[in-house]
């Protein structure tokens, strides 16, 4: 049905073009470079047209278009230097440079507004995007590589945040420990205050240990049971956080209850490094520049996560994960230790979730229990699934796009919709009450999950291997497929 529809649209498209003198045959005999150029120019032209019609036109739109054209048109994959294919690195490097320089060009007022989506993201949104990219990459170890559905990833996020709360704030007032922390008020003698960099590492390790503790008894379970158990842990941890101000009536204040732990120290490198190397002494004293430094730091963490993802995927362990994902029984028969391999996937995913959680707590200046709900688990899962399970670039795209929607995009789209079709809308009025689009955020994410699973289960930017699994199916093939019974009647079917 769907394939027929797509084919119909494609046929109609080529029919129109051949009437204009460009048949499909002629198009495909053109050189690849020409085809790429034409395609890119047409798409960019369409984009510019849309910005002109619905966005706010600025001259810098042309600069943006030029950058896109330069990035897309030449086939960088073929560039070689002394026989080494360095070309593959050019596109990622360009994206990285664009990301690093974003604070300089992204927030200036001459940037054009996108149609419908409105202005480009602010710096605080960019920090959120980077942090959630890290979490999504962490979840990708579990869901994308090892094929285990984890519905309680928020537990690791919470654990990381609370680690930052315990070791970089006044929470345990009777204790006194200082190690490399910055920005403590003079005379403040309460609590653990360790350097945030150390806390990030500690949070990662503690969360990984929690991951192992959760994983050891539960990873024996089959896929959907495992999902439910992880969901259970994801609900228990926030409840402990909410009720932890007097744990089991002992009066021991572990998490400060619903108030959350705040303030948490900001990151910083201290005065010595500030004077000798020029690194910022304390991020929180940077004023308006704080966000960009937070963003760059988050970018470094994302890069580390990407590096670990790519290297682990190609390692012996990563290949074992993929083998388990494709067929657990066959993997076990080939000598892959199931429990150990799965536990490693869990611990690795948890590690990055913990680091990201601790960093985000430091950025937000607090760990609050109302941030850690099942919704966030599904939110991160949605990032992984939308982008493409198992593909680093896909996951990054999914995380950035969805976090952007969460923070700004949906509000902007809602404003646009209400402005055009709402009460007193500029085009024509469809609904009579202002539509609160961000209220329906999770329904929209749910719809994304359903649509992606139904129509493109491998995600927007799939890894070729994962796509093949979804197309062919790796699990028990039914003897008689009650849905597609055509193959009973086709003679060549086996």
């Amino acid at each position: 049905m769907r394939a027929r529809l797509v084919k119909g649209i494609a046929d109609a498209w080529w029919l129109v073009l051949s009437r204009l003198g460009l048949s499909r045959h002629r198009w495909q005999t053109l050189p690849r470079f020409t085809r790429r150029t034409v395609k890119a120019v047409v798409w960019v032209g369409l984009g510019l047209l849309l910005i002109g019609l619905f966005g706010v036109w600025k001259l810098s739109a042309l600069a943006v278009a030029a950058v896109v054209l330069v990035l897309v048109v030449p086939s960088y994959g073929k560039v070689t230097v002394r026989g080494r294919r360095v070309g593959k690195a050019i596109l990622p490097l360009a994206v990285l440079v664009l990301a690093i320089t974003y604070p300089f060009y992204g927030v200036v007022s001459s940037m054009p507004q996108l149609p419908i989506f409105g202005p480009v993201p602010q710096m605080s949104t960019m920090v959120g995007m980077a942090v959630f990219t890290m979490m999504a990459l962490g979840l990708n170890f579990v869901v994308g590589y090892a094929g285990l559905l984890d519905l309680g990833y928020v537990a690791f996020y919470a654990m990381g945040s609370y680690m930052a709360g315990w070791f970089a704030s006044d929470q345990f007032a009777k204790q006194h420990l200082r190690f490399g922390a910055v920005g403590i008020a003079p005379g403040d003698n309460a609590g653990f205050h360790l350097s945030i960099w150390l806390v990030l590492l500690m949070a990662g390790i503690a969360t990984a240990i929690i991951g192992v503790i959760i994983g050891l008894p539960t990873l024996r379970l089959r896929g959907d049971y495992l999902a439910i158990v992880t969901l259970g842990f994801g609900e228990i941890m926030p409840q402990i956080a909410r009720n932890g101000d007097s744990l089991f009536g002992t009066g021991f204040n572990l998490t400060n209850g619903t108030g959350g732990i705040t303030p948490i120290d900001g990151p910083g490198f201290g005065n010595w490094l500030h004077h000798h190397v020029g690194l910022p002494a304390n991020y929180l004293t940077l004023g308006t520049n704080a966000d960009r430094v937070f963003f760059w730091t988050a970018l470094v963490l994302v890069l580390l996560t990407m590096f670990a993802s790519a290297r682990l995927r190609d390692s012996r362990l990563g290949r074992a994960w993929i083998a388990i994902r494709e067929d657990e029984v066959a993997a076990a028969a080939m000598g892959v230790p199931l429990m150990r391999t799965k536990t490693w996937a869990y611990a690795t995913g948890a590690f990055f979730g913990g680091v990201a959680g601790a960093y985000y707590a430091s950025y937000n200046g607090g760990a609050f229990p109302d941030e850690f709900f099942f919704n966030i688990s599904v939110f991160i899962l949605c990032m992984v699934i939308l982008g493409g399970m198992g593909n680093i670039w896909g996951v990054i795209f999914g995380a950035c796009f969805l976090e952007y929607l969460d923070r700004e995009g949906l509000a902007n789209i809602g404003a646009w919709l209400n402005g055009h079709f709402g009460p007193g809308g500029s085009d024509f009025q469809i609904w009579h009450k202002t539509l609160d689009v961000p209220l329906y955020e999770f329904g929209i994410f749910g719809a994304i999950l359903v649509i992606v699973m139904l129509f493109r289960p491998e995600g927007l930017i799939p890894s070729s291997r994962r796509a093949a699994e979804f197309r062919e199916g790796v699990h028990d093939e039914p003897l008689y497929d009650v849905e597609h019974d055509e193959r009973l009647y086709t003679p060549e079917a086996t």
């Binding site: 959907d224 076990a332 999770f442």
Partner: protein, 353 residues
């Protein structure tokens, strides 16, 4: 209920030392629980029984929802995440029916009350049955041949979509259903009190459960359901229209959820878009506790969970309190899945572990 159990070799895992320690621990936990219940009983027997009635009522509501999970799991091996939200929409249908169509108030006559409840029950069950069958058609059927996790993910998506439908319909805050059930005492024997609204909940639930048992055990369609649950391919070869049977099962599950929604809305008096998610997880735990795919097991599990919740929230001596209900329920879920995945009444299948 395991469709493909026989084709797979059970994977033998080396038993870790942990797996020897844990059963002992679990036995100790159950022992402690019994001691705690006993002490509470001795301290106030009458109060204990009154609390037990609350547990029974909670359990009845959970049973209606848990049966839906277990029916669907039995036939498709799919955890229907959206089921709790179908239940929630059922509650909202009933609230609308009772308040806006039948205009029921707290002082209605018995005849009006019975009429309104039966009418709302029929509407809620029909609407939820259709809704659940539609969800199956849209979100699960196209994914029959896909990896097992694919329909689970669409189920989560559908759950969020339904919650947003509820938000769009009733708004994000609680919809209040005023007390329409009589709250007087049925009897009060030496301090043991049973009130009418609890008895009415039981009186609605039991006939629905009996009807379900009759449907599954005695009718042709029920036989088709059991056959499909046992082996879908063989059932198809025997001339059973598998897709229609699955649709029918979803419809029955949805209708049960609708009945549960009505009972919940009338008994607890308020319902919100996320009610279904929380209660759905508890009901799923009940289904797992009883042995998922097993109908009497779901009812037994639901009653257990209902009692545990009522004792936890109601008993006076060293009860953790309502703040910890979810944690306790999920801990039970995890322990059951780890130590006895086949549940209280289920049979051990090689796939279970």
């Amino acid at each position: 209920m395991a469709t493909h159990a026989q084709t797979e070799m059970p994977i033998r895992l080396r038993r870790s030392p942990v797996s020897y320690v844990m059963p002992v621990l679990a036995t100790c936990l159950v022992g402690l629980l019994l001691v705690w219940l006993g002490i509470n009983f001795v301290k106030g027997p009458a109060y204990f029984f009154t609390i037990s009635f609350i547990g029974l009522t909670n359990g009845a509501v959970y049973a209606l929802v848990a049966l839906g999970y277990t029916l669907v799991y039995g036939i498709l091996e799919l955890i229907n995440f959206a089921h709790g939200d179908v239940f929630m929409l059922g509650g909202m249908f009933s609230a609308t029916m009772v308040l806006s169509v039948f205009h029921l108030t707290a002082h209605a006559s018995t005849g009006a009350l019975v009429g309104a409840i039966v009418g709302s029950l029929a509407v809620a069950m029909a609407a939820c049955g259709l809704l659940n069958a539609t969800i199956e058609r849209v979100a699960y059927r196209p994914l029959r041949g896909a990896p097992r996790l694919a329909p689970l993910i669409t189920a989560i998506g559908m759950s969020f979509i339904l919650e947003d439908i509820a938000i769009g319909w009733k708004g994000p805050s609680y919809t209040a259903v005023p007390n329409v059930l009589p709250r007087g005492q049925v009897f009060s024997i030496s301090g043991v009190v049973l009130t009418w609204e609890k008895l009415i909940v039981i009186m609605i639930t039991v006939p629905v459960l009996l009807a379900l048992i009759w449907l599954v055990q005695r009718t042709r369609q029920g036989k088709a359901m059991r056959a499909t649950a046992q082996d879908r391919d063989a059932a198809a070869m025997m001339g059973i229209n598998v897709n229609r049977t699955i649709s029918f099962t979803f419809m029955i599950a949805g209708a049960l959820a609708g009945a549960g929604g009505l009972v919940y809305a009338l008994y607890f008096g308020q319902i919100r878009y996320d009610t279904g998610f929380q209660l759905g997880l508890i009901a799923f735990t009940a289904a797992v506790l009883g042995g998922i795919g097993n109908l009497p097991g779901a009812v037994l599990g639901a009653l257990c969970i209902g009692f545990i919740q009522a004792f936890n929230e109601g008993l006076l001596w060293r009860a953790p309190g309502s703040n910890w209900t979810e944690s306790i329920v999920f801990t039970i879920l995890i322990l059951i899945l780890v130590f006895r995945p086949e549940g209280l009444l289920g049979e051990r299948t090689p796939e279970g572990v």
